[in-house]
Every structure is written in structure tokens, then in C-alpha cells.
């Protein structure tokens, strides 16, 4: 079996799982007590109004038909109407998604530029201060809720030191760059607006770091374990025996095999960052998808909840697909295993 065929099959399966997810959420949302139309309109709305809304939303039809209408709508980009914003959920998602994407991307950058080198250094200098730092960060990453990390960062850098802003994506005084991608950093860069870029950067540092904390600890710990594991392999000893210089061994012959394990958990890191975003966006009043999703959940805005859940599921699938391809690229064993028909 070709590797690309294997990736394609995984991808198709993930899409099927997403359908399963949509059914699951749909059932939970519609089968449980509480009338969404009533909730949307409030306790003082007339019964007729509620009935009318139910009719408009198609909720007076049988459940399978409702699902069918919903799921076919999605393929036309119609995620249904949001009760809160009275807009199509697709529009809302398009509006809120970029802020979250930007936050998570910057968080991934944090993980890569801090987690990996820290792990390499910790493996190189065992029991040194770097090693201890990695250990502490790993424990903080798993034991401190990300919203607490966020609050502490706010407390330190905004309230006590006063060097970074508390909330939002931009200061009120900074005019936003024209909307292109919705990613402020990118948009201001395209525009060449460096004051906006600087301001956006200042705003994103704390929340993205709070989100990345879990991942930094995980990746650093795994990189450390994996580097020391590779260092003990026969093939590294053999390379030294053949007279390959240490520098080449460390950065070529060790780093590549050692990067496989951290790479395979990048999908999980991404998942933890998405989860963390739901908590951290609230702390920093970050106008992203997670914050939109939380509001939708609190107000029982089911179409919005469905939309957010499916988008996050899709993002998860895409990231795992990328990780699969990267793993196949770095580790020939994965590729060959599938090409030989396993």
C-alpha cells in the first residue's frame, strides 16, 4: 500500500468520524429536555412566537429529517441561524475563527522555539539547571490550569510590571490594519504597519504563552527522553566509531531520529492548546472562536455550538493529517511499513 494511499484512507476515516461527531452532538442537543426556541426567546415570549420560531428553525419536523437538513446545509456553507447574533453561524465563525487561529499558531511557535531546544539542552546537560527547569515546566504544564497561568501572567506582566497589556487583541488607540486574512500579525505585516504589528504582538504574548505552557512542558520532556534514548543507540556509537565529528552526530544523526516521538504527539499538543484556548480567551477577553463558543453554550445557542464543535473537530483532523504526513517524511519506517502492505 502506498503511503499516500494510507494517509488518504486515514483522512477519509477522520471525515467519517466527524459525521459521527455531528450526529452525537445533534442527538445530545435535540433529545434532552429544554426547548431551544423557548430558551432563545426567553420566558416571557408568547407560545405562538415560540411555535413560530420552532417552525422557522425546522424543529417541528422529525429528528432524522432535521439532521438531514442540517448536514446538507453545511455543504452549502449554511450552518443554520445563531440565536444570539441572528446571523448565519458560518458568518460568525468566519468572524471569530482568525483570532483563535492566530493565538494557537503563535502558541505552536512557542512550543517549537522553547520546548524543543529546552529538551535538547536538558538531555545534553542532565541534572543541570536547564534539566530542572524542564522538569518544573513539565509539572506546571500539567498541574496548573491554563486560566491560572493566564491570570498569573496578567498579574505579573500587566499589573505589577505594567509592560504588557491585559486584554484584547489591539489597544483602543491603535487603528486596526485592513482586514485581509483576519490574522492581525499577518495583516499588519502585509500593510507594512509596524506600530499595529508591535501592538498586536504585545497583546498576543501573554495569552499565547498561557496556552502553550502545557505543550512546552510536554514537548521538552519528550524531546529530552527521546534524545537520551537515541544517544544510547548502537548506531550513534557506530557513527562515532566511523569518525563522524560530534557536531554532525548531534545535529544530524541524533536530531532526526529523536524528533520522531515529539512529532507524533504534536497532534495532542494542538488538542491541549485548543482546550486551553477556551479557558484563556476568557481570561484575556480575546475575541476568538472559543469565547464565542462558550457564550453559545451558556445561552443554549445550539447551531452555534454545533458549528464551533465541527470546526474544531475539522481543525483537529487537519492537524493530525499534517502530523501523519510529517511523520512519514521524517521516519522512513512508517512509510515503508505501509508500502510493504504492513
Amino acid at each position: 500500500m502506498r503511503f499516500s494511499y494510507f494517509v488518504l484512507r486515514r483522512w477519509l476515516y477522520s471525515i467519517l468520524v466527524l459525521f459521527g461527531l455531528s450526529i452525537l452532538i445533534f442527538i445530545i442537543a435535540r433529545m434532552l429536555p429544554g426547548d431551544p426556541a423557548r430558551l432563545a426567546l426567553g420566558p416571557f415570549a408568547l407560545q405562538e412566537q415560540v411555535e413560530h420560531l420552532r417552525h422557522v428553525m425546522g424543529m417541528d419536523k422529525p429528528l432524522p429529517l432535521q439532521y438531514w437538513t442540517y448536514i446538507t446545509g453545511i455543504f452549502h456553507g449554511d450552518f443554520g441561524l445563531s440565536f444570539q447574533t441572528r446571523r448565519n453561524v458560518a458568518l460568525d465563525i468566519a468572524h471569530y475563527l482568525p483570532a483563535t487561529v492566530e493565538l494557537v499558531l503563535v502558541a505552536i511557535v512557542w512550543v517549537l522555539v522553547l520546548g524543543v531546544p529546552l529538551g535538547v539542552l536538558a538531555a545534553r546537560y542532565k541534572d543541570s539547571w536547564v534539566d530542572n527547569l524542564v522538569r518544573v515546566m513539565a509539572f506546571i504544564g500539567v498541574a496548573v490550569p491554563p486560566f491560572v497561568v493566564g491570570l498569573f501572567l496578567q498579574l505579573t506582566f500587566s499589573y505589577l510590571l505594567g509592560i504588557l497589556p491585559t486584554t484584547g487583541r489591539l489597544s483602543l488607540m491603535t487603528p486596526a490594519p485592513p482586514l485581509r486574512t483576519g490574522l492581525l500579525l499577518l495583516d499588519s505585516l502585509i500593510e507594512g504597519d509596524f506600530s499595529a504589528l508591535g501592538d498586536a504582538l504585545k497583546h498576543i504574548i501573554l495569552p499565547s504563552f498561557a496556552i502553550a505552557m502545557t505543550g512546552i512542558g510536554q514537548i521538552a520532556r519528550l524531546t529530552r527522553a527521546s534524545m537520551s534514548d537515541v544517544a544510547n543507540q548502537d548506531y550513534i556509537e557506530a557513527s562515532r566509531g566511523f569518525g563522524i565529528p560530534n557536531r554532525v552526530i548531534a545535529f544530524k544523526y541524533m536530531l532526526k531520529p529523536a524528533s520522531i516521538a515529539p512529532l507524533t504527539i504534536l497532534g495532542l499538543t494542538f488538542a491541549s492548546e485548543l482546550s486551553n484556548a477556551f479557558l484563556v480567551e476568557t481570561v484575556f477577553a480575546w475575541p476568538g472562536l472559543a469565547k464565542y463558543g462558550i457564550r453559545a453554550i451558556l445561552r443554549k445557542d445550539f447551531n452555534a455550538v454545533m458549528g464551533v464543535v465541527l470546526i474544531i473537530g475539522l481543525a483537529f483532523v487537519i492537524v493530525n493529517l499534517i502530523v501523519d504526513i510529517l511523520a512519514g517524511y521524517v521516519d522512513p519506517r512508517v512509510r515503508i511499513k505501509h508500502e510493504e502492505g504492513e
Binding site: 477522520s14 468520524v17 466527524l18 459521527g20 461527531l21 452525537l24 452532538i25 445530545i28 442537543a29 434532552l32 429544554g34 509539572f139 506546571i140 500539567v142 498541574a143 496548573v144 490550569p145 491554563p146 486560566f147 491560572v148 491570570l151 498569573f152 496578567q154 498579574l155 499589573y159 505589577l160 527522553a225 488538542a271 491541549s272 485548543l274 482546550s275 477556551f278 479557558l279 476568557t282 481570561v283 463558543g293 462558550i294 453559545a296 453554550i297 451558556l298 443554549k300 445550539f302 455550538v305 464543535v309 474544531i312 473537530g313 483537529f316 483532523v317
Partner: protein
């Protein structure tokens, strides 16, 4: 009759040796555990939390301050001799509420794991042993549940309910079984082909007997380690739900809720946020240290 007798002899023989192996493993494990200071520290931390939570009404200075209580006269007091960790917006003693709050956290994790672990282990055993369609269906369902990050999935399920601590527990429990199901499914699949299981089969042991006597004991160590590591994670997810207003509702003294309310008064009334945060950190760290130590002691592979 003679085959029956020999079957009996063989299986008792097997059981005895297995017992010896388990006893030996436990002995070595305890020895390693005592020599592993980190897991010991973790164990002590967990034990301390549990004891404080159980005896909360007796060890706290103001047991009345847990739950609905207001004393506006004493609101927003900084830490002092009478209120070690200060008081909150309603004048409740923060220390007292933290101790009672750890009760809720521990209860949450106990209930969630108490429901989800047996379910997950059972489904994992069944699916791994039976294979075929049963396995396909069960594992596909777990895939659906795992297609979202745990917290997001819990949030989505919470969306259907009026927020409360019970519903939060239900939501988390309804996801958590999947992890144990996958873990046990993997172990069962690899074990069922091993010789001692095949031997039991040949000797005519019933599937239930094989599942519970031969396979289940081999899942014990990884599941125990996972439970310990999970305990902290469940508390983390629970705290997240409360922080977002989807878990315990005021006036319940939940740590996540306390932090979320206290955050409004940062930085001046820092004690309302800082101390509950430290309490969460302490509990979760305890479980993680214990779990990490147990993993070494029981020689369970990393990645569980």
C-alpha cells in the same frame, strides 16, 4: 472425569504461580515505591488532601463559611491572624472555602473515574476479546468521542444542560471511559494470543473466566497508573468547567468558581485568586507525582 481433574490441577497450579508472581511484583513494587522519594511526596500530598477534605468541618476555622453565607462587614479582608488567607467578597473565610473546595474537586474526580473506569475497562475487555463487529462498533464510538479535545467535548455536552456540578461530572464521565477502553482494548488484543490464554481456552475455560481471570489482572497495572494520572487531569477539566461557569454554581465553594470570581478583583484582592490556584496546583501535582512514581514502580510504559 480425569480430564476435569487435571484441568483443575493445571489451573490451580497456574493460579498459584500467578499469585506468586503478583506477590513478588507487589513486594518489589512497594520496595521501589519507598525508595522513590517523588512518588512518596506525591502520595503524602494526596493523602493530606483527602484527609483535610474528609475532616473539613473539624479542621477549618469557620466551617459555616462553606456554602451560602454572607458577612459583608468582613468582606475583602487581607490575610490576617483571624483569616489566614483573607476573606472574599461575601466575607467568607478563603481558607475554609479552599478546604471545602478540595472536597468538591476530589468528589468530582472520584465520581467521574468511579463511573468511567469500570465502563471503559469492561468495554475494552469485551471489544478486545470478541473482535469482529463488536470491536468495530465499540472502537468507532470511542473514536467519535475522542475526535475533540476532552475539555471541548465536555463543554459541548454541557451545552445541553442547565449548568451544575452533577451535569459537569456526567459530561466528563461520558468522555472519560474512552481512554480506558482504548488502553484495555490494546492490552487485551495483544494478550489474547499469548500461550497461557490459549492454554486456558484449550482446557475449556469459559470466555468470561478467561477475560476476568487471565486478561484483567494483566491490565491492572496500566489502569492503576492511568487512574492516578487521570485524577489530576479530571480535576483540571472540572476546574476549567467551573471557571467557565458550567460546573459548580455559587454559592458552592468550588475552586474553579472561586478563581473565576476572585479574578474580577485582581490585583488588589489577590488572595481571592492566588490561594485557590495554589490549592488546585497542590492537589493535581500530588496526583501527578504519585502517578509518575507508580509508573516507575509498576514498570508501566511511558505514554499511558
Amino acid at each position: 472425569m480425569s480430564t476435569r481433574a487435571s484441568h483443575h490441577q493445571v489451573t490451580t497450579g497456574l493460579n498459584e504461580t500467578r499469585w506468586m508472581i503478583i506477590k513478588d511484583r507487589l513486594g518489589r513494587g512497594w520496595y521501589k515505591f519507598r525508595r522513590n522519594p517523588i512518588s512518596l511526596v506525591g502520595g503524602v500530598m494526596v493523602l493530606l488532601c483527602v484527609l483535610l477534605a474528609i475532616f473539613a468541618p473539624y479542621v477549618t476555622p469557620y466551617p459555616k463559611h462553606a456554602g451560602a453565607f454572607t458577612d459583608f462587614q468582613n468582606a475583602f479582608q487581607a490575610p490576617s491572624k483571624s483569616h489566614w488567607l483573607g476573606t472574599d467578597a461575601l466575607g467568607c473565610d478563603v481558607f475554609t472555602r479552599i478546604i471545602f473546595g478540595s472536597r468538591i474537586s476530589l468528589m468530582l474526580t472520584a465520581v467521574v473515574l468511579g463511573i468511567s473506569v469500570p465502563v471503559g475497562v469492561f468495554l475494552g475487555l469485551i471489544s478486545g476479546y470478541m473482535g469482529g463487529k463488536t470491536e468495530t462498533v465499540i472502537m468507532r464510538v470511542t473514536d467519535v468521542f475522542l475526535s475533540l479535545p476532552a475539555l471541548v467535548m465536555a463543554l459541548a455536552i454541557c451545552a445541553a444542560f442547565t449548568p451544575s456540578i452533577d451535569k459537569a461530572m456526567l459530561a466528563v464521565a461520558s468522555i472519560w471511559w474512552t481512554w480506558h477502553c482504548r488502553l484495555v482494548n490494546g492490552i487485551t488484543r495483544s494478550i489474547k494470543t499469548e500461550e497461557f490464554v490459549q492454554a486456558s481456552k484449550v482446557l475449556g475455560a469459559s470466555p468470561l473466566r478467561i477475560i476476568f481471570k487471565d486478561i484483567l489482572p494483566n491490565c491492572a497495572s496500566p489502569v492503576i497508573v492511568k487512574i492516578t494520572l487521570d485524577a489530576g487531569f479530571v480535576i483540571l477539566v472540572g476546574a476549567g468547567l467551573s471557571f467557565l461557569g458550567l460546573g459548580a454554581q455559587p454559592p458552592a465553594e468550588d475552586l474553579g468558581t472561586m478563581i473565576s470570581f476572585g479574578a474580577k478583583y485582581l490585583p488588589e484582592r489577590w488572595w481571592m485568586t492566588v490561594f485557590p490556584s495554589l490549592a488546585i496546583f497542590f492537589i493535581i501535582l500530588g496526583f501527578n507525582l504519585l502517578g509518575d512514581g507508580l509508573r516507575d514502580v509498576l514498570a508501566v510504559e511511558e505514554g499511558v
